[in-house]
Structures are given as structure tokens and as C-alpha cells.
């Protein structure tokens, strides 16, 4: 029954996403939603590494920017075909991800976070200062919208919305398959305990590296979509501020959960839109809320809901067991320990 319910929720979310632009007719809202979908793809990348593998990379915006700038430079300066540039941008991001991963994964825990924070900042600096290539602070202007695929063109905001939505759905599906495969369980095993994972024969170096590269791939994908959607990029997109934005979305939604990136991104983006009149004072609200969330619900909103429904299910089971016992007029005995709450 629980699975059935989950299917309904997914279906409802999907229908909402499909009909949203048709219902609102508000171009600004569609724009914000498209942008949220793009961020979500990036957040999924961060989730795979930080949430499932247990390695918090703070270079994520750097790889987002590498994806965006690769696409921008290949289309604007090299005049490449859009989709060829798009694929190449993903390859470039993943290759740089591989090289950075080789070095970064020699460190662990907070050392890893600090190391990647530096890497991210260096990426930002390179983009900012290498003016002959990246145009520096002036940014890259005139990035083309996604090229036609056969008869379908992506020039209108509405078609771009659906393009981004489809890529997001593919990303979520890919993520689902990864998490529910042996590979995903291997990542979770590494998060759980690296020593233990090694002791059962997992090559942790190899698996951490694939997780890192996959995570940068999704960052690059997100960045390339961003560049083609906004059509102007500046060095700011590689700044650590963006990394922490993505991390906020992930923490609010639920780190290490499959639907956390969607929930967190939509919620935070929507709330920031609503609170825009407060300008930077918004942070006075976000800061404490985030702190409380991390303390009381370390697995975000999705984690909180999951443990709440588990508790309810446990209570229901106990109650029905008690009723059965009354009916059978059994002598009262303790309730089986199997009914303890299991948090998943």
C-alpha cells in the first residue's frame, strides 16, 4: 500500500511539472521553474557524492562553471554545432573531474572539503583572470539556445522548459538506477565505513573516483544547460556562493535521499522568490531555519517525512497486534521486539 501511495505522489508531481506552464501562463514563473530544474540536476550530482558516498565536495560550482564555459566557448568562439559542443562540454567536465578526483580523493572528511573548496575557488579564479579565453568579468555573451533536434526547435521558453524537464527526468531515472544497483550500495558502504568496505573487498579508490566523476558529470550537465538557457555567463557562476546554494537546496530537501534535491530546490527557490522584498536580509531567516533543520532533521524534509511515516506504520502495526491479542484473549505478554521503529 505504501508503494502504491508513493507512485501516486510521483505521478502527481510529474503531472504538475508537465501542466505547470500551461496553467500559469506566467512567463516569469516558467523561467524560474526551468532554472530550478537546471539546479536540481546539479544538486543530484552533489547528492551522489556528498549524500551517498559521504564525500562533501565544495568544488561543485567550479564544475558547473566548467560545463557552462565549455559549452559557451565551443559555440561562441569555436562556432561548433550546439549538440556536439554540448556533448564535448560534458566530456571536458568529466575529464577535469577525473584529474581533480585523482588528487582530491587522497584526502578524507573535512580535509577533502577544504581541498575541494580550494579547487573550486581556483577554477573560479582561472575563469575570472584568463581574459584572453573567457573574457573575464565581461562574461560570454550570445550563447545559442539549444539546436534543433530533427523538426523540434528549442527557441521558445516553453520548449526549453520541456527540454530541461526531460533531461531532468532522465537524470533522476539514471540516479534511481545507480542508487538501487550494486554500485549505489557500494557508495553507501563507503559512506558507512571505508575500512569495512575495504575489508569486504571493495576497491574504495576506484569507486570513490567513479562517484566523483559522475558527480562532476551532472554538474557539467547542469552548467551546460544553464549556459544555453540564460545565454550569458560570467565568472560568478563558478563562485563558491553557488556551491553553498546547491548545498542548501540539498540539505533542506534531504541529503542522501532520492527526492531530496527536487523538494529542496523547489522550496528554497520559491521561498527566496517570495522573500525578494527583504533583499539580503533573507539570510536572517534562512540561516536560523537551516541551522535548526540540520540539528533536528539531518536528512532534511524528505528524511523527516520518511521517519514520520515509518513511525506511524510501526504504531499501526503495534495497535493491530494488540487488538489481535485481545480478540484471542491471550494472556498479556510483551509485544514482539520486531515492531521497533525502523528508520530507513
Amino acid at each position: 500500500m505504501k508503494i502504491l501511495k508513493r507512485q501516486y505522489i510521483i505521478l502527481a508531481m510529474l503531472l504538475f511539472a508537465i501542466f505547470f506552464p500551461l496553467v500559469t501562463q506566467n512567463e516569469y514563473l516558467v523561467h524560474v521553474m526551468t532554472l530550478s530544474f537546471i539546479w536540481m540536476i546539479g544538486v543530484y550530482g552533489l547528492n551522489l557524492l556528498a549524500g551517498y558516498t559521504g564525500y562533501l565536495s565544495l568544488a561543485h560550482a567550479g564544475f558547473f562553471a566548467i560545463g557552462a564555459y565549455s559549452l559557451g566557448l565551443l559555440t561562441v568562439k569555436a562556432q561548433m554545432n550546439f549538440w556536439a559542443a554540448f556533448v564535448l562540454a560534458l566530456v571536458i567536465t568529466s575529464v577535469i573531474g577525473f584529474l581533480v578526483g585523482l588528487l582530491a580523493l587522497r584526502t578524507k572528511e573535512h580535509f577533502f572539503a577544504i581541498y575541494t573548496l580550494c579547487v573550486g575557488y581556483i577554477i573560479y579564479l582561472v575563469i575570472d583572470k584568463w581574459e584572453s579565453l573567457t573574457e573575464g568579468v565581461r562574461g560570454l555573451i550570445g550563447i545559442p539556445a539549444p539546436g534543433n533536434i530533427g523538426p523540434i526547435s528549442f527557441q521558445t521558453p516553453l520548449s526549453q522548459y520541456y527540454l530541461v524537464l526531460s533531461i531532468l527526468l532522465l537524470s533522476v531515472l539514471a540516479m534511481y538506477r545507480i542508487i538501487h544497483s550494486l554500485t549505489g550500495r557500494t557508495y553507501i558502504a563507503i559512506r558507512n565505513s571505508e575500512d569495512l568496505a575495504q575489508a569486504i573487498g571493495i576497491s574504495t579508490i576506484k569507486n570513490k573516483l567513479t562517484a566523483f566523476v559522475l558527480s562532476t558529470f551532472f554538474a557539467g550537465l547542469s552548467g551546460a544547460l544553464y549556459a544555453s538557457f540564460i545565454r550569458f555567463i560570467g565568472p560568478d557562476i563558478g563562485h563558491t556562493v553557488i556551491t553553498f546554494d546547491l548545498l542548501t537546496y540539498l540539505l533542506v530537501g534531504g541529503i542522501g535521499t532520492l527526492s531530496g534535491p527536487i523538494v529542496g530546490t523547489v522550496l528554497v527557490v520559491w521561498i527566496s522568490q517570495q522573500l525578494q522584498f527583504l533583499q539580503d536580509y533573507r539570510m536572517l531567516i534562512f540561516g536560523p531555519v537551516l541551522t535548526l533543520l540540520v540539528i533536528f532533521y539531518p536528512r532534511g524534509i524528505v528524511g523527516a517525512i520518511a521517519s514520520w511515516t515509518n513511525k506511524q506504520a510501526g504504531r499501526m502495526k503495534q495497535r493491530s497486534l494488540r487488538d489481535e491479542k485481545k480478540e484471542d484473549s491471550f494472556p498479556s505478554s510483551d509485544i514482539a521486539p520486531e515492531n521497533q521503529v525502523k528508520e530507513g
Partner: protein, 235 residues
């Protein structure tokens, strides 16, 4: 089968294990006795490649494994069942066992056979295969830890304090199972503080003190040794 020659292990400048020589022959149960901090676990971690020896060499079935990575060592047939029932608490019993067969992940048939063998050995695990590992009792968790180690089809199993924190009756069952696993062809190296129970099933033993072996011999010899009796058996 397994031979350690003059192995020393250091944590920084601290020498945790000094010039240890061990010899385990195929089919044996060998026990390492010693108090907390005597170096037993460090020896285990060194055999399975989690720590590197500062000097000395480790040979398994004639070839050196001193420089092999932990996953290579598991593939060669040495599997450690770590102390303190280390499981993946957020995974189900079934998933934990499946992870144990990681090195054989391309052989579905082999994995299935090992799973059946483990369920036969521990019927409780079969009943609870869809429960979260974190919800099991202490004894069941230890069974799962041993079961998971068996999934890798080890030639040599390293068992670090399987009796720790368990009720006496469960400890007895645990040692019976260890004996059974041994009879069915797995060589066992066991670290224990419970010398009485361990020496009963072991062929030979080594006594550790402050990181080095102070005594070695067959279980009968150790059992009748006054110092061992005084220090570890309490009679």
C-alpha cells in the same frame, strides 16, 4: 598457508606490533590470545592490508601480500570479520550479505549458492532477510557479520573477537558454528579474550602482550601453562 615473518607495525612513532611471527596451516583453527591493546587487531588489519607493516613480510599461499591492496587480498581468499559486529545498519540483512559477495559480483550462481549456505548455517538470517541490519540483536548481528564474511568464500577467515559482548549461551553457539565452518574447509584465525572457549576449539595459539608474541604452542600446551591459566582462564 599464511606466514608472518618479523612483522612490525607502527602508528606514527608508536610501535603497536613488534617482530611478530605467525604460521597458520591449511585447515587449522589458530587463536591469538591477549588483553585489549595487545596488538591482535593490528595484526589482523595488517594481514588484510588495512595497515601496512613497517618491516617484515606476509605470505599467503606462497606469494607475498605485504604490498597488496585490501581488495586484492580479499580476492586472494583472506576475509576479515571485524570486531564489534561492523555492519551496514541502513541496509537489509539480504543486502549486507549481497555486499559480502562483492568480489564475486559477476558470478550470480556462486553468490546464490553462498547465500543458501549462509542461510542454512544461520536460519535466523533467512527469516530476517528483509529487516534492517541495525534492528537485529547482538547475537544476530554477529551471525550476519560472519555470514557476510563467508559470502566472499574465504580460504582463510580472520575473526576478531566474535564473542565480545554476547551472552554466554550465544557465545557457545558461535564457537560451534566456527568449528563447523572450519570442518567444511575454511581455515580460521581467531582473536579472542575468552581463552577458555577459544582454546577448546583451536589447534594452536599465540599469546600477545604489548605488541609481541610472548608464548606460542598447541592448545593443550597453552591450556596447561600456568601463566596462561592465571592470566586468561582465571583458574
Amino acid at each position: 598457508m599464511l606466514e608472518l615473518k618479523d612483522v612490525s607495525v607502527k602508528y606514527g612513532s608508536f610501535t603497536a606490533v613488534q617482530n611478530v611471527n605467525l604460521d597458520v596451516s591449511e585447515g587449522q583453527i589458530v587463536v591469538l590470545l591477549g588483553a585489549n591493546g595487545a596488538g591482535k587487531s593490528t595484526v589482523f588489519r595488517t594481514i588484510s592490508g588495512l595497515n601496512k607493516a613497517a618491516s617484515g613480510s606476509t605470505h599467503f599461499e606462497g606469494s607475498s601480500i605485504s604490498k597488496s591492496s585490501p581488495d586484492k587480498i580479499v580476492k586472494s581468499g583472506i576475509v576479515q570479520c571485524a570486531e564489534g559486529r561492523k555492519l551496514f545498519p541502513m541496509m537489509t540483512v539480504y543486502e549486507n550479505l549481497k555486499m559480502g559477495a562483492f568480489v564475486h559480483r559477476s558470478h550470480r550462481k556462486k553468490t546464490k549458492d553462498s547465500m543458501e549456505y549462509v542461510f542454512e548455517l544461520f536460519p535466523t538470517l533467512s527469516e530476517k532477510q528483509n529487516d534492517m541490519a541495525g534492528s537485529l540483536s547482538g547475537g544476530q548481528q554477529q551471525m550476519l557479520a560472519i555470514g557476510r564474511a563467508l559470502m566472499a568464500k574465504p580460504k582463510l577467515m580472520l575473526l576478531d573477537e566474535p564473542s565480545i559482548g554476547l551472552a554466554p549461551l550465544i557465545v557457545e553457539q558461535m564457537f560451534e558454528v566456527i568449528q563447523k565452518i572450519n570442518r567444511e574447509g575454511t581455515t580460521i584465525l581467531l582473536a579472542e579474550q575468552n581463552a577458555n572457549a577459544a582454546l577448546k576449539i583451536a589447534d594452536k595459539g599465540y599469546v600477545f602482550e604489548n605488541g609481541s608474541v610472548v608464548l606460542e604452542g598447541t592448545s593443550e600446551e597453552l591450556f596447561s601453562n600456568d601463566e596462561v591459566r592465571k592470566a586468561y582462564i582465571g583458574a
